[in-house]
Amino acid sequence: SQKIEQNSEALNIQEGKTATLTCNYTNYSPAYLQWYRQDPGRGPVFLLLIRENEKEKRKERLKVTFDTTLKQSLFHITASQPADSATYLCALDRMDSSYKLIFGSGTRLLVRP
């Protein structure tokens, strides 16, 4: 069955540094992969989508890479700020439907001022 793994330990970094979060998946080749941000007590917020034929995508301070050989996506936040502190979820489409997403359990990012 499809499986997504995100580092369950919180990532603690200093303001201004680049945060790098990892998403690994097995048993499937997704057509696309998405990243969401979730703050406590709130719903996930869509950040970026990257398709299988794209290696990298950027949006302001965010960058996502997609390595279909390694079955891995990296999510980078450059010049991190305390306001970036949140849980970041990786999601990929399921093999039985492009509309179904499988979510990872998320990685909590803490940016120290």
């Binding site: 696309y32 998405q34 007590g41 709130r42 719903g43 996930p44 917020v45 869509f46 989508l49 849980t87 979820l89 999601a91 489409d93 439907s97 492009s98 509309y99 179904k100 997403l101 979510f103 359990s105 998320g106």
Partner: protein, 113 residues
Amino acid sequence: DTAVSQTPKYLVTQMGNDKSIKCEQNLGHDTMYWYKQDSKKFLKIMFSYNNKELIINETVPNRFSPKSPDKAHLNLHINSLELGDSAVYFCASSGGWDSYEQYFGPGTRLTVT
């Protein structure tokens, strides 16, 4: 204006009761979803409707019944509530064909005592 709204935000009820959660989206999207997020923060899809038709029905107890009166609304009715139903329930919507990012509501925290 809230894109995806849910009511109520909190729901505390006793075992055996029946309750409903309402969801509305004003994004003009064709597809709506219900997710359950458990205490370990895993988001799992329960149901999906496309233009008022059920397209995804995961392995969910039949005590859970979704209803879509129109494509802007997707409600979730739960019969005979059990302790294990306690979780946060999220409604989401997406634009449909070739538009896979999902927009989530604020969530409904259901506590069954």
